[in-house]
């Protein structure tokens, strides 16, 4: 019925530029704030660009990446005396030459120039030392990887558990849904500020609580001030804050599974575990892929918590890649270095996402 459609609407829809016009706002914004910066960062990462500098920018090739990723291995042999016997200290341990003798102005080891000791282990009488050119970056990298490796399964698992629990027709179940979702709508900055009080070393809620339930046996810990606990404290808070969001995604996945499948399983005699194993879990497959990828990406972008709570400390124990990128780019005015970290992060997340998609692909 041609006469039913207003003529104006029709001609507008048919106009060749109409589509482009409608997409324009989105395209402009995306270009300005996403695609542009991305390409810029990519370009900067091969230069020595600084935030403000009187000197002209130069192309430096891969030097930024070499600087960040440079690692070396050094095998130290124990010092020997003239007879060839190993020199031992008072406690009987062999003595080794100092690492800095290899990394400072040693013409025999030019590739180790400027590196610092990262970690090491004993190998028979020898000592193996792994060196890195940029220790802070390495710390940020390992912290971030650790953060992702723990947050992804824990947050996904916890969210699934919550989703299973609240996916029931009970009176008042919506109250629980709301409560679990609430942290999600609060800004992570606000959450981080609040949790600083919880983690406070003297009068923090957590210390008080632990001391209360252990009848005063528990000795207060400065959760954010100890290198051994700071990252875990941030991790726990991050899981708590994000779990509600992923719970809702799981929930939507759960609700796409037809009730009749569970009823059929009931009649066939499936136990609750078997119903989960054979009906729920296979039905959640696509949701699981989505959640895993989303959590991984979110976890890789760990920044606000660190920025508000610890600034990367103590002793670099909470450094993260994004935090380092921002630090270098703006605090140290080294835009090129920050960009290089961003590019590396991009490649890392891309690689992991592709791997996850591959591992969780539909197999036939």
């Amino acid at each position: 019925m041609d006469t039913m459609t207003p003529k104006t609407a029709k001609s507008l829809q048919n106009h060749p530029t109409a589509g482009w016009l409608m997409m324009a706002p989105a395209i402009i914004l995306l270009t300005l704030f996403l695609i542009g910066p991305f390409l810029l960062a990519f370009g900067f990462s091969f230069t020595n660009q600084r935030l403000i500098s009187p000197n002209p920018t130069q192309i430096v090739g891969l030097r930024n990446f070499e600087q960040m990723l440079g690692v070396g291995v050094l095998t130290l042999e124990p010092e020997r005396d003239n007879s060839g016997a190993v020199v031992r200290d008072d406690e009987g341990r062999p003595e080794y030459p100092r690492v800095r003798t290899f990394t400072r102005n040693n013409p025999d080891y030019p590739h180790l120039e400027g590196m610092r000791e990262w970690f090491g282990w004993s190998w028979g009488d020898n000592q193996v030392v792994v060196l890195a050119r940029d220790l802070v970056f390495m710390k940020a990298l390992t912290n971030t990887l650790m953060f992702v490796a723990v947050v992804a399964p824990v947050q996904a698992g916890l969210a699934l558990l919550l989703a299973l629990m609240i996916n029931q027709k009970l009176r008042g179940i919506n109250i629980f849904r709301t409560v679990y979702f609430m942290p999600v709508v609060v800004s992570i900055v606000v959450v981080s500020l609040l949790w600083r009080f919880i983690y406070d070393g003297r009068n923090g809620l957590l210390n008080n609580l632990l001391s209360f339930i252990s009848f005063g046996q528990f000795r207060p810990v400065d959760w954010l001030g100890e290198p051994s606990t700071a990252l875990w404290a941030i991790l726990a808070m991050s899981v708590w804050q994000g779990v509600g969001f992923h719970m809702v995604i799981w929930l939507s996945g759960l609700q796409t599974i037809p009730v009749a499948l569970y009823e059929a399983a009931d009649i066939e005699g499936a136990t609750p575990w078997q119903k989960f194993r054979f009906v729920t879990w296979p039905g959640l497959r696509n949701t699981a892929v989505l959640i895993l990828v989303v959590i991984t990406m979110q976890a890789f972008s760990l920044f606000a918590q660190v920025d508000v709570m610890t600034q990367g400390g103590p002793l670099d124990s909470t450094q993260s890649l994004v935090f380092q990128a921002v630090q270098r780019g703006y605090e140290q005015q080294n835009i090129a270095g920050g960009s290089a970290i961003s590019v590396l992060l991009f490649l890392l997340v891309l690689a992991i996402s592709i791997t996850q998609r591959y591992l969780t692909r539909e197999r036939n």
Binding site: P258, A260, L261, E263, A264, A265, D266, I267, E268, G269, A270, Q274, F278, V279, P282, G283, R285
Partner: protein, 358 residues
């Protein structure tokens, strides 16, 4: 051996009564069809048998056992769902063998049973496929196969054919009927389609608004409906109803109304008194074209099907009726016509809709 016994079975959701007291016995091996309009509680009743819905009040016995508190899996029932309820990620083979696998049946026995079911349902070539790769009819076969392998005492079907097209529906109807003969198990089948009910059932249970209207064999229900609802529900095209007034005479009962000229029929009339308004029911196939018939009207629509002619007639009183006449009837739209009937074919219903005994 498993018959079923319903004793005063009730179901309510909160304050809403859905099943309002069902008493019913089903013998072992019987094919029983619950039929009724949409929303009358057929599925609810069936799901109570399966154990998927609690029984609010009353008692349900399967075999010798009261099963009100028995888990679905321990009731010895298998159910075929309208939506098929196949597990989408499992092959047909695994779908059919799912229950056996849960019961930890040894692999070789399981394999044998799955293949036997596949043979019965002629779907051996489908065993490796996933449900998404099957047509509706094939999916329904798999769902039935899954029920068969468990060798249940009672099969439950909830509108299993309503998602299939007409031709396939007829094939599957015959297959289910054949299956019943082969397996000899008790089957309870839910449908809103009275044709399905008539063709499949040993015994039909007509439900309306949560109340059993009548229980009987298809022909019993057709020839001796106990009330207006059953009379109108069973049979196609539907029975015609006319409002008339009764008068008791020596010869029996004289009835007349705006649509019907005075007719005397032999009936004891013990339940009727002169002046009662009663409803007269006459099936379309009981109309006879006849010059001295007591029904007069104008033909409004003619459908020639070859073997018979279906005509819509507006009677003198304004009531529209459907008559199924001979295939070579010469009636045309606009013709005035008269119809008669054999008096014994009439159904009479009192003001409450109950059948008046003749």
């Amino acid at each position: 051996m498993a018959g079923l016994e319903f004793k005063g079975v009730h179901k309510s959701y909160g304050k809403v009564d859905v099943i309002k007291g069902v008493d019913l016995s089903i013998a072992h091996g019987e094919f029983v069809v619950f039929v009724g309009p949409s929303g009358c509680g057929k599925s609810t009743l069936l799901r109570m048998v399966a154990g998927l819905e609690d029984i609010t009040a009353g008692e349900l016995t399967i075999g010798e056992r009261v099963v009100n508190q028995v888990q679905p899996r321990d009731r010895g029932v298998a159910m075929v769902f309208q939506s098929y309820a196949l597990y989408p990620h499992m092959s047909v083979y695994d779908n059919v063998g799912f229950g056996l696998r849960l019961k930890k049946t040894p692999k070789d026995i399981r394999d044998q049973k799955i293949r036997e079911a596949a043979r019965i349902l002629q779907m051996e070539h489908l065993l490796d496929r996933k449900p998404a790769q099957l047509s509706g009819g094939q999916r329904q076969r798999v769902a039935i196969g899954r029920a068969i392998v468990r060798q249940p005492e009672v099969f439950l079907f909830d509108e299993p054919l309503s998602n299939l097209d007409a031709a396939l529906r007829m094939d599957m109807r015959m297959e289910i009927s054949k299956l019943h003969q082969e397996l000899g198990a008790t089957m309870i089948y839910v449908t809103h389609d009275q044709v399905e009910a008539m063709t499949l059932a040993d015994k039909i249970v007509v439900l309306n608004a949560g109340v059993v209207q009548q229980v009987g064999s298809p022909l019993e229900l057709y020839h001796h409906p106990e009330n207006l609802f059953v009379a109108g529900f069973i049979g196609s095209p539907k029975m015609n109803f006319l409002k008339v007034t009764a008068e008791k005479t020596d010869a029996g009962l004289t009835i007349a109304g705006a649509d019907l000229e005075e007719t005397t029929i032999a009936a004891s009339g013990s339940q009727v008194s002169t002046g009662d308004r009663i409803t007269l029911g006459l099936r379309p196939h009981d109309f006879i074209e006849s010059a001295d018939g007591r029904l007069r009207g104008v033909v409004e629509l003619v459908e020639r099907l070859g073997n018979e002619t279906i005509v819509n007639v507006r009677l003198a009183g304004g009531t529209q009726v459907i008559a199924a006449l001979d295939g070579d009837s010469h009636l045309e739209v606009g013709h005035e016509a008269r119809f008669g009937f054999a008096p014994e074919k009439l159904h009479l219903f009192d003001a409450d809709g109950q059948t008046i005994a003749r």
